[in-house]
Amino acid sequence: MKVPAEKKMEMLRSMLLTRAFEDALQVLCQIQGKIPGMMILCTGQEAVASGVCAALQNEDFIISNHRSHGHLLAKGADPKALMAEIYGKRTGCNKGKSGTLHLAVPEVNAPCTTTVVGGGLPISVGVAFAQKYRKESAVTVCLFGDGAADEGSFHESLNLASLWQLPVLFVCENNLYAGAQRFEEHTRVKSIADRAAGYPMPGVVVDGNDAPAVYTATLRARETAANGGGPTLLECRTYRCRGHGEADPQHYQPKEEIALWKQRCPILKLEKEMLQKGILSAEELEKLREDSRKAVQEAVRFAEESPWPDVAEAFQDVYVSDL
């Protein structure tokens, strides 16, 4: 399938934004100490979020995990509100209550990014059921890591979604590590997609560093789901170029392996392809990069200038009426 040039542009833009956003976070957290140390980034994995979200409609829902910045930005979240939230400011998308690990962005239909590994899977199945129940054409995408596929909730969710043929896409970002464990140290399957056979549903493996490939695979799975064909398990093969979190010394990841995957950078890959095909000029690329840097600078400025939440706000929104 041919991927339209404007889709490629959209994906490149969101990958550049995510990279710039997270590079800034790394500095703010690790070097300047402005944000506390639990910082989980998706450097090297940007094509998954960008490819998946480029294939979605606005009304589609995403349920995400602890490595969520890229997912949310690709779905269209405002970088200012995200940055302010990560700082813990009251202008953040969750009024400074969630921080980096539990972001929720209602405007882009991202109600839950959970740091409980595997916790989002059954929730996504429930949302998908409700979409089908209301006879809407929207679908739900659940994004999770290879480690999450070992939790019981993964298996329960795939079985349910398949049994009731629900419009949900299970997108596994297999970045070859779950914490300090390598993929082959935590499961004997050769690929997470093999597990689809057990439920059953289509299991698809795609190069997770190739945004157009992720886009195409997602579009197909979305089509199936939206037309009553049930769920798909889509495994995107990628690599976690940084440690699990920013405090992780990464001693268990071979240096050569990291270097190899840095060469396979999904952003460089798409840039190169677009330049070669003549759908992007060097000047346009420079402009795109500059735009993303500016958007991030603006987001950082907004966050820095924003007020902290009042102590009293901690007692709001526990229940529908305040405590």
Partner: protein, 326 residues
């Protein structure tokens, strides 16, 4: 005696028990090669091998249930949850099986396992990484719930927990993990589960706390003494359930006043049980209502407001003054 952090003391407890008893095995996510998120199991895999120090996949329910199976068959598993906030997948196994099998089998089967979890705030981490929900476990008959407050009692209590014939949920205050060092004897030391400890004598008021909030409680007691000449008696619960109410109710019969301190949310927290026991056992001796200085009934806030959530010495002192002025 070596001066150790709590992390080192816990590591020593595990290593020594594994050395003495080949039934003791350790398991959890990244506890082997990586030595655990907080390095409590550091180096154990090199000494005891991968069969006794098992790196498991991400599967908390599996880890707990598997440990129950090991324990039923005579092993002594010590399993780790990376943070207490990620232990709830394990809860159904703990409450439905670990806690009940002795009772159900009329004592013919029992589940000698330890579920270790770092818990608590003060480390600028987010939500699940900072919470203090020991009441969930303490509310479950059949489980023992233990929370040490310093390196030395952590070591002694972990040894006791491993040897205990019943399932023990062992919460480790991560704010204390590396906060200070204490002399910890190389020789065996145990501390009985189900017993609290007097850590400072006094006649005017009784402060009851445990875990990470013991330190601000002691700090408050010291300042009350230095500044106002108020002598606070301080009791460290150490075991939350089953609760030792003898020591603190005896103390309150003497002082007539009490303040309970914990960082867990206030309502239905361990403090509520302590107050009830005081009503039952020291009612006629009370000179003032018992005060609680606790976390609030909300999710623990993000780092920027965390310090306002956690009990500090000034909040504790204020509560003490209020009981004294009553």
């Amino acid at each position: 005696m070596a001066k150790m952090t709590m992390v080192q003391a816990l590591n020593m407890a595990l290593a020594q028990e594994m050395e003495k008893d080949d039934r003791v095995v350790v398991l959890g996510e990244d506890v082997g090669v990586d030595g655990g998120v907080f390095r409590v199991t550091d180096g154990l895999i090199d000494r005891f091998g991968g069969e006794r120090v098992m790196d498991t996949p991400l599967a908390e329910s599996g880890i707990a249930g598997f440990s129950i199976g090991l324990a039923l068959y005579g092993l002594r598993p010590v399993c780790e949850m990376q943070f207490s906030g990620f232990s709830y997948y394990a809860m159904h196994q703990m409450e439905a099986h670990a806690a009940r099998l002795r009772w159900r089998s009329q004592g013919r089967f029992h589940v000698p396992m330890v579920l270790r979890c770092p818990y608590g705030g003060g480390v600028r981490a987010l939500e699940h990484h900072s919470e203090s929900r020991e009441a969930y476990w303490a509310h479950t008959p059949g489980l023992k719930m233990v929370i040490p407050s310093g390196p030395r009692n952590a070591r002694a209590l972990l040894v006791s927990a491993i040897r205990d014939p019943d399932p023990v949920v062992f919460y480790e205050p991560k704010a204390v993990y590396r906060a200070f060092r204490e002399e910890v004897p190389e020789e065996e030391e145990v501390f009985p589960i189900g017993r609290s400890q007097l850590v400072r004598g006094g006649k005017d008021v009784t402060l009851i706390s445990y875990g990470a909030t013991l330190r601000p409680t002691l700090e408050a007691a010291q300042t009350l003494h230095d500044r106002y000449g108020i002598e606070a008696e301080v009791i460290d619960l150490l075991t939350i359930s089953p609760l030792d109410d003898e020591l603190f109710s005896g103390s309150v019969r003497k002082t007539g006043r009490a303040v309970v301190v914990h960082e867990a949310p206030r309502s239905f927290g361990p403090g509520a049980e302590v107050v009830s026991r005081l009503v039952e056992k020291a009612f006629l001796y009370l000179e003032a209502p018992v005060k609680r200085v606790t976390g609030f009934d909300i999710v623990i806030p993000l780092y920027q407001r965390e310090q306002e959530y956690l009990p500090h010495a000034d909040r504790i002192m204020k509560a003490v003054r209020e009981t004294l002025d009553f």
